[in-house]
Subunit: 527 residues, 2 copies
């Protein structure tokens, strides 16, 4: 240990109400480091207060940022917004309860006993994290996720759902804030086709969470889906888990969605505190700032010692990296900011990459998450007086010490147990820490301008594919890449990748007819 007991007691933040505590003792933070950042932290706390009061915190898109209102609707800026939040929450819970009671049932009148979520990014990672953290094998409905446009992955999920027989009992929840996300649209169409092959009506097995009057919303309305729940432009995808996006899947799986909201609200109260040392989100933001010099020079390695929290790192990759990974700051200056997040779980990761954390590059800070409650079932002593859970605890302690011995930084967040309340609280804690950190380094945490470029380029590639296929059909002859590029106005390299992909898949109408390197090969349309 690099500090004595007195320093430890002084530095430990803890809250008896939630049972959370936060130990920054191994982050190498001196009193001067705190002082040097006090102005920044206080500015950030002020910015968050303005945001919560309804300021337009996302100026690029002219949007308010209201995810905090979701768990405390009384904070909403207008009675109409408050009513929308409360009505949606109650509608979601009532829908899930009606499904569980069999009042809302499958096409054949039998009860649903499983459900699939089709969504991606902000519409999948929150529900997935909550499901993995809190889902029980004995849940009233088992949850499945389709979070990609991989046809084989979709086939696998359909098989896991039990094929055509399983689909009879499957409620499918399609989630897309914009209602136009292509991966989600594709997953929906694949599911629709699978229901149709099973002789089932998709509409009779489907519910939507999406913005009012979005493409998806209109589609669902037209087809008469079982239910539609709204999303609002003042909730960002990566902070949407307390909206219907997260609440509906949670409630369907039998998770206590109200407790999730309660936990988030409780942490919101703690993280609104003006005093830095009393505010756990401010402490986190300050520690991140110190570790990475306000530039993300050290990655955040997440080590929750609990299998249930294994997907927290994926959830936080999105929350942190999409919020903080920005080319420009709020004043338009090029900053190329970011904060990389990775990790899985302890003690498993000790046998994977803790070797590098201890011995290798000093380019990270570990974030240990300790869960005090070991299990619900009976204890098993694996040695006299020592349980399986004591080992989990011991390995966390041992790794923390082993890192500290080498001057590697870590912080430890301790929570009493993995419950709906604490999961909501965890989410809220990191949401606020990200918001505060972004304010400290002068970033807009609420847009994602870099995401569009890849989508646009993908659209161009698919448009080129269409032209390539047309050109091959038109000539009817074998063509090489340069000829195809000339005929379509495409780049040769892209043309090559397109025909290689098409030719690798039967039934796509394109065959490779001469082998050799990219420049020798020829492709032909099949009639």
């Amino acid at each position: 240990m690099t500090r004595d007991w007195r320093q430890f007691c002084e530095a430990l933040w803890s809250d008896p109400g939630t049972g959370f505590s936060l130990d920054l003792g191994e982050m190498g933070l001196s009193a001067e480091d705190f002082e040097a950042r006090e102005g920044l932290v206080q500015k950030a706390i002020g910015a968050m207060a303005a945001l919560e009061a309804g300021a337009v915190a996302n100026p690029d898109e002219g949007r308010q940022v209201g995810h905090y209102w979701l768990r405390d609707p009384a904070m909403a800026p207008t009675p109409a917004v408050r009513a929308e939040i409360e009505d949606t929450r109650e509608a979601v819970l009532a829908f899930a309860a009606a499904v569980h009671r069999g009042e809302i049932s499958a096409e054949d009148g039998e009860a649903f006993d499983r459900f699939a979520v089709i969504g991606i990014g902000g519409s999948a990672l929150g529900p997935l994290f909550v499901s993995r953290a809190l889902g029980e094998v004995s849940a009233p409905m088992r949850a499945y996720f389709v979070d990609n446009t991989d046809p084989e992955g979709i086939e696998q999920t359909l098989a896991r759902l039990g094929g055509p027989e399983g689909l009879k009992r499957t409620l499918t929840v399609v989630i897309s804030k914009s209602g136009g996300t292509k991966e989600t649209r594709n997953g929906m169409l694949e599911f629709e086709a699978a229901y149709a092959r099973a002789g089932l009506s998709f509409a009779r097995h489907a519910a939507a969470v999406t913005g009012a009057a979005s493409e998806l919303d209109r589609y669902a309305a037209r087809q008469g889906w079982l239910a539609r729940f709204p999303m609002w432009d003042w909730v960002g995808g990566r902070t949407s888990v307390c909206s219907a996006v997260g609440l509906l899947p949670a409630a369907l799986e039998g998770i206590d969605a109200r407790a999730l909201l309660d936990g988030a609200r409780a942490l919101d109260a703690l993280t609104r505190r003006a005093q830095t040392r009393a505010n756990p989100a401010a402490l986190l933001a300050l520690a991140w700032h110190h570790a990475g010099h306000g530039r993300g020079d050290r990655a955040m390695v997440l080590l929750p010692y609990k299998d249930r929290l294994e997907t927290l790192s994926r959830y936080l990759q999105q929350l942190v990296m999409e919020s903080l990974g920005k080319a420009l700051d709020r004043d338009g200056r090029e900053v190329f900011q970011g904060l990389a997040v990775y990790g899985n779980k302890g003690s498993t990761d000790q046998h994977a990459y803790v070797q590098q954390l201890r011995d290798g590059r000093d380019d990270f800070f570990a974030t240990f998450i300790e869960v005090l409650r070991d299990r619900s079932g009976p204890e098993l002593e694996v040695e006299p007086g020592i349980t399986t859970g004591d080992y989990l605890f011991g390995f966390l302690e041992g790794t923390r010490r082993a890192l500290a011995e080498r001057g590697r930084r870590s912080l430890t967040l301790t929570i009493p147990a993995v419950t709906a309340f604490t999961v909501g609280a965890l989410i809220a804690l990191f949401e606020r820490a990200v918001g505060l950190y972004a304010a400290m380094v002068n970033l807009n945490a609420y847009h994602q301008p870099g995401v569009e470029a890849g989508k646009r380029a993908a659209g161009e590639v698919l448009a080129l594919q269409t032209r390539v296929v047309e050109a091959l059909k038109r000539t009817g002859e074998a063509m090489g890449v340069t000829a195809l590029a000339a005929a379509t106005g495409g780049e040769a390299e892209s043309v090559f990748r397109i025909v290689r992909h098409l030719a690798a898949n039967p039934h796509r109408g394109v065959a490779q007819v001469a082998t050799g390197g990219p420049d020798e090969a020829r492709w032909r349309a099949l009639s």
Copy 2:
């Protein structure tokens, strides 16, 4: 694109036999960059040849490094080693076949229809990756994994296995090279207890993969388990997937283990080539060296566009980071080396952190993995002429371009499909690339000296726990942390964490009797 068609054709490595190709065109490698590293690469290729011929490549532990022999036993340095490899492989396959035919059956004489793997690190990540990549819902046996000492996680897996009824049909495979890994031992004891609660004999449902005469081997022999398969000291855990460690779970799940070995052998042949530009592993190692200046200055972000390959990043975190994350080089100089690896899958991750990759810190290189074959089932057009798989392809292309536009580096590995052959080939390709890179930067890739520190510290914590509990019982009175620390010779902070953990769990015999901060609280032994 930052290069023209001629440059692309020249730079593309491809192999018609395996269908693999590798494009380093977006890594910013000039002809001079290749030339500057030619000496290092050639030295590394020479070092790998010596290693394959049986040199002691891991001098700290005086061990040979023979995972290449596993897929080409004719290369083994002695006929005895060759026979061991071949006999073990055949014994594993025969065992799995006998289980599938029901000749080796559960205690009640009925066939096994599911299996659990208990292992961690090198004894879990390979089997897990292979299972996730190749397992089918229609597999003869479904695979489950216990890879931690989290009691709640173990309870969940037991529930997923179907509780006591499920255990009747469950074969449990315990994997530990050393035979003394505590997490694995604990998982085994938890399973043993669960079988016993179900009225079942664990031994009649268990098989082991472990070093001859290890603690686990002797335990399994004494109890008369169904089978024991050997591990050898010349196979490192993180490269053990071609030994019984990987082959047994694969074969049980109905995966073609011979094809996996064939794929690895095929890539081994390609990666033995002396010419740098003809050797895909040398190209990878050279590209990593260039991107990170031989110091790992850029993290490897893994983006396989295929759900089945989602756990590849976890597999490679271990393979790469445990091999390369080292304090000292082979000459004993402090270098604090490493190469961080993270990522999940595309296009999912585009909706999570690609925002940061494109706009944020230039501290990574992306490794795209493209799978040409989209699916086994019928194609679905989601727009005229465009399929779900075209979108997956388009998003990969789009993201590659979006990164290149901003000068962010990427390389693209293209494989024909996800099959046992290509998965074996992928594993072999990265194994060799890590070996070559380690040789280039003068590291011993085959030891993990930093892992012991955490285990040792964990042992000390658990020993202190025993003394703390004894002290509480002895006095019978409420004690504070400083008193307990004095009574046990422990550090106050560790004592505090120990009693906090014990008191949070009922039935552990310790209660907190006074609240307040760490220095005010008191704990007492319960009688």
